[in-house]
């Protein structure tokens, strides 16, 4: 995101004006708007307007098949007092930390290994790490759910072999969070490793070779060459995974089928988006659901600000 928001990238030398008559020149002048119109039109209808309308709906007690009454800020005061909301905030944050930190570290390591100049079968390895990315979250959750099943799951069989008792992962807070984090990690580590790998490959090989000649081992090369070189792309992936983390939904919905909309009987892994879904489409309280949407928006803005600060700091250091 760092690079994207850089205005320098955007501004470029304008191309020469076209020749032709007045009418044609008017048409030519309007043409660019025609090209960007499809996006902006669709975005206005399905993106911007709904976003703004969320703030409006949140001011109502809004039942889609019944009445709607203006309630002012009641939905927000209720939200702030609602332990279920803070629970969802905690869950979302915890799952995000549990999945992002190890995921990005692991991706860094994998990228470093994939970056060996004379790695054989590198094409195969690169494709293999991307396989989870093309697997749907739904299918992933079904498989992981089966693997950690209390009675028949393979993970619990291993625990049994080790002489430990079976664990009902989905029942506990940490167990369900770890399970979802594992799914997120499984799906995205390879993808992020490829992003890092691309940045690494832009580095001249000689740096590594010189370091090797100086006697730096894998670890020191990793620590002192790989990590610093990847700083901007790391910021990008952190932001990306934060936005992704705020949106975690499918994993949570499919993990505990007998209490799907709460991700378990005690809402142990109900994320913010799932809470929004439960209130909006499970209970059909559109107003309260929209208030949750507004809260999510506030968090996105905070994330963006934090990101901005991080980026400007890292730029200042350079």
């Amino acid at each position: 995101m760092a690079t994207i928001l850089d205005p320098a990238v955007v501004t470029r030398k304008p191309p020469p004006a076209p020749h032709g008559g007045i009418r044609e020149s008017v048409r030519e002048r309007l043409a660019p708007y025609g090209y960007i119109a499809p996006f902006f039109l669709l975005f206005a209808v399905f993106g911007l307007f709904p976003l703004l309308f969320t703030f409006y709906v949140a001011l109502f007690d809004w039942n889609p098949i019944g009445e709607r009454t203006f309630v002012g800020l009641d939905n927000f005061t209720r939200l702030v007092d609602d332990p279920r909301f803070w629970n969802a905030v905690r869950n979302t944050f915890s799952i995000w930390v549990l999945s992002t930190v190890p995921q990005l570290l692991l991706a860094l390591g994998v990228a470093h290994l994939l970056n060996h100049a004379r790695l054989r079968a590198s094409g195969f390895f690169r494709m293999s790490v991307l396989v989870p990315y093309i697997t749907s979250v739904g299918a992933t959750t079904i498989v992981f759910g089966q693997l950690i099943d209390r009675d028949y799951g393979m993970v619990n069989w291993f625990l049994e072999l080790l002489g430990l008792a079976h664990i009902e992962f989905t029942a506990s807070v940490w167990g369900s969070h770890l399970t979802i984090a594992a799914m997120v990690m499984w799906r995205w580590t390879g993808y992020n490793a490829l992003l890092y790998l691309a940045s690494l490959q832009a580095l001249p090989r000689e740096i590594y070779e010189a370091a090797a000649v100086d006697g730096a081992g894998q670890w020191r090369q990793f620590r002192h060459i790989t990590v610093p070189a990847l700083r901007p792309i790391i910021v990008f992936t952190v932001v990306n995974s934060t936005i992704g983390g705020l949106q975690i939904f499918t994993e949570a919905l499919l993990l505990s089928p007998s209490a799907a909309q709460t991700c378990g009987a005690a809402r142990q892994c109900q994320t913010l988006t799932l809470f929004l879904y439960e209130q909006g489409f499970g209970r059909y309280q559109f107003g309260y659901g929209s208030a949750i949407g507004v809260a999510l928006f506030v968090m996105v803005v905070i994330t963006a600000l934090v990101n901005f600060l991080l980026v400007s700091r890292s730029r200042a250091e350079r």
């Binding site: 975005f43 290994l113 992933t140 081992g217």
Partner: protein, 278 residues
């Protein structure tokens, strides 16, 4: 561990670690297949049986009996294709305008595009649903397809691609021949950036095939389900067979795995190309 010329000879442990990592990448898919071919009595036995069984057709038959799964695969295909193609077209057009044309407001509008990338529009899902229902698109495939055309990152990506592929000299040369902007786009630019547009379309296809929340909200009747929603229906079916949802998951993943065999290399290339050089 320290080797004199680690830049040249790859240590064996690197292969070992990478192999383990790849095995972890493949294992859930393999396990999906194992359970999808095993009858439930075997699937619920410990220790688990690690090799596929011969129950695949039975379970697949049960899947088809429970939800219209073939229809779901067709729906997924229609939706993913339309979204892939639609994104490629919409983003190529807009990417071209932002890359090669000058017009008042270009900078501001492009910043808006970039900003939209940072806001997950999922948070506005309730009003989005209201709009879809106003349009009468609830429970229709176009209710999933048309909003799926919106892809700000795709525009950003296509713009980069066009900047890198099409030189200003080429644009000028085309202009000198008296071509209109539209002709320049269709005859000169698009053919040159088509590989990029196709790649973008492929990512759109994969994304749309796997998308869950929005189709889950829009599509209500089983004949309109996508493969992903069908998986959820299988998981919820009252007549539960442990292998049923796994079998459905496998059937829903298989088309993408086949596609991946053919285009995986290009997807890898695409991700690495789209990366931001440090």
């Amino acid at each position: 561990m320290t080797r004199r010329r680690s830049g040249h000879r790859v240590p064996l442990w690197v292969y070992a670690v990478l192999t383990v990592f790849c095995a972890i990448s493949y294992f859930p898919l393999y396990w999906m297949f194992v359970v999808a071919t095993t009858d439930s009595a075997t699937a619920t036995r410990l220790p688990p049986r690690l090799v596929p069984g011969d129950n695949f057709l039975d379970l697949a038959g049960l899947v088809l009996e429970t939800v219209p799964f073939v229809r779901a695969l067709v729906n997924s295909f229609v939706i993913a294709t339309a979204i892939g193609v639609g994104q490629a077209l919409v983003c190529s057009l807009a990417g071209f305008a932002f890359a090669k044309l000058s017009f008042p407001g270009r900078h501001t509008l492009f910043v808006i595009v970039v900003l939209t990338m940072t806001v997950p529009l999922q948070l506005a899902i309730i009003p989005q649903y209201m709009i879809i229902s106003r349009l009468g698109w609830v429970d229709t495939l176009q209710g999933v397809i048309v909003p799926g055309f919106v892809n700000a990152f795709g525009i950003f990506w296509m713009r980069q691609h066009i900047v890198a592929t099409i030189s200003d000299e080429l644009m000028q040369a085309a202009r000198v021949d008296g071509a209109t902007t539209w002709q320049v786009f269709w005859r000169v630019v698009f053919p040159l950036v088509r590989p990029g547009a196709i790649l973008l379309g492929l990512f759109g296809f994969v994304w749309a095939w796997n998308d869950f929340l929005w189709p889950f909200i829009v599509l209500k009747s089983p004949e309109r389900y996508t493969a992903q929603i069908a998986i959820k229906a299988l998981q919820n079916s009252r007549d539960i067979d442990l292998g049923l949802a796994m079998s459905g998951s496998f059937l829903a993943t298989l088309p993408l795995l086949v596609l991946f065999v053919f285009v995986g290399r290009r997807l890898v290339g695409g991700i690495m190309e789209g990366a931001f050089k440090g």
